[in-house]
């Protein structure tokens, strides 16, 4: 199995909603290039959108002096996306489950849940020296 890591995207984005669209488009292109079908591209794109929105809105709070770093790579069967903001960070365990009855009709709080539903692995940790790092992993489909 080839485990050589190949960088597909390595980009800093300003903390704007336009960056969300730009990062989503760039990653969709990368996802298509490694063979994900349209449905999987949609799931990946949506996960990236949710992740970027969290970084821009909740992490960097639209601060134009802060950037969101996005890295995409492929190593063997794994397509990995890293999104790092420069915000204050948060604890994953603090996020309430949106499927619980008390939370079902809440306006927000579904972003991380959707990432988990659409990706094969999601990791959230505090970045160094600041911010939050989210790693999204999707297994690349075998060649037909």
């Amino acid at each position: 199995m080839d485990t050589t890591s190949q960088t597909l995207l390595d980009q800093d984005y300003p903390s704007t909603l336009e960056s969300v669209d730009e990062a989503e488009a760039a990653i969709l292109q990368a996802a298509a290039s490694v063979g994900f079908d349209e449905d999987e591209q949609h799931r990946i794109g949506m996960s990236v959108r949710e992740c970027m929105v969290n970084a821009v809105v909740h992490g960097n709070r639209y601060n134009r002096n802060k950037i969101v770093h996005v890295g995409v790579s492929r190593a063997g069967e794994q397509f990995t996306i890293r999104v790092v903001d420069q915000g204050e960070g948060f604890e994953f365990v603090e996020v309430p489950n949106p499927l619980e009855e008390d939370n079902l009709l809440k306006h927000s709080g579904r972003g991380l849940f959707l990432m988990g539903a659409f990706m094969d692995d999601v990791k959230v940790r505090k970045a160094t020296p600041e911010g939050t790092e989210v790693t999204l992993v999707k297994n690349v489909p075998p060649l037909q």
Partner: protein
């Protein structure tokens, strides 16, 4: 393509035809404004036609939920029409599919408000 909304009246039901993407920013705020206007005009039977909606993110889902609860709290009813497979999947994953009254056929949906 961002979101486009057009409201038409079918009897006493306000049908909002939505097309495009309901995402954070312009898309979700346009939907919120449209529902707020209908409520301000005392329209209490609202059918959201989502058959031309290609994409909804969690912010868009939030607007659907907020619209649903706001209308219900004012004594009205908000129903959904014509979900695409992706939108339907999204509502099922988030356990919201059974919260909304969802219809496939407009005439049937209109009659259900009676």
């Amino acid at each position: 393509m961002s979101v486009k909304l057009n409201t038409r009246q079918v009897g006493d039901v306000s049908v909002v035809d939505v097309s495009g993407r309901i995402t954070l920013g312009e898309g979700s705020s346009a939907l919120r404004d449209s529902l707020r206007d209908l409520m301000a005009q005392n329209n209490k039977k609202i059918l959201l036609n989502l058959s031309e909606v290609s994409y909804i993110d969690s912010s868009g889902i939030g607007e659907l939920v907020s619209g649903f609860t706001t209308v219900a709290n004012s004594g009205g009813t908000l129903k959904l029409l014509g979900l695409t497979k992706r939108v339907k999947d999204l509502l099922q994953i988030t356990k919201l599919y059974t919260v909304f009254d969802v219809h496939e056929d407009e005439a049937h949906a209109i009659r259900s408000f009676a």
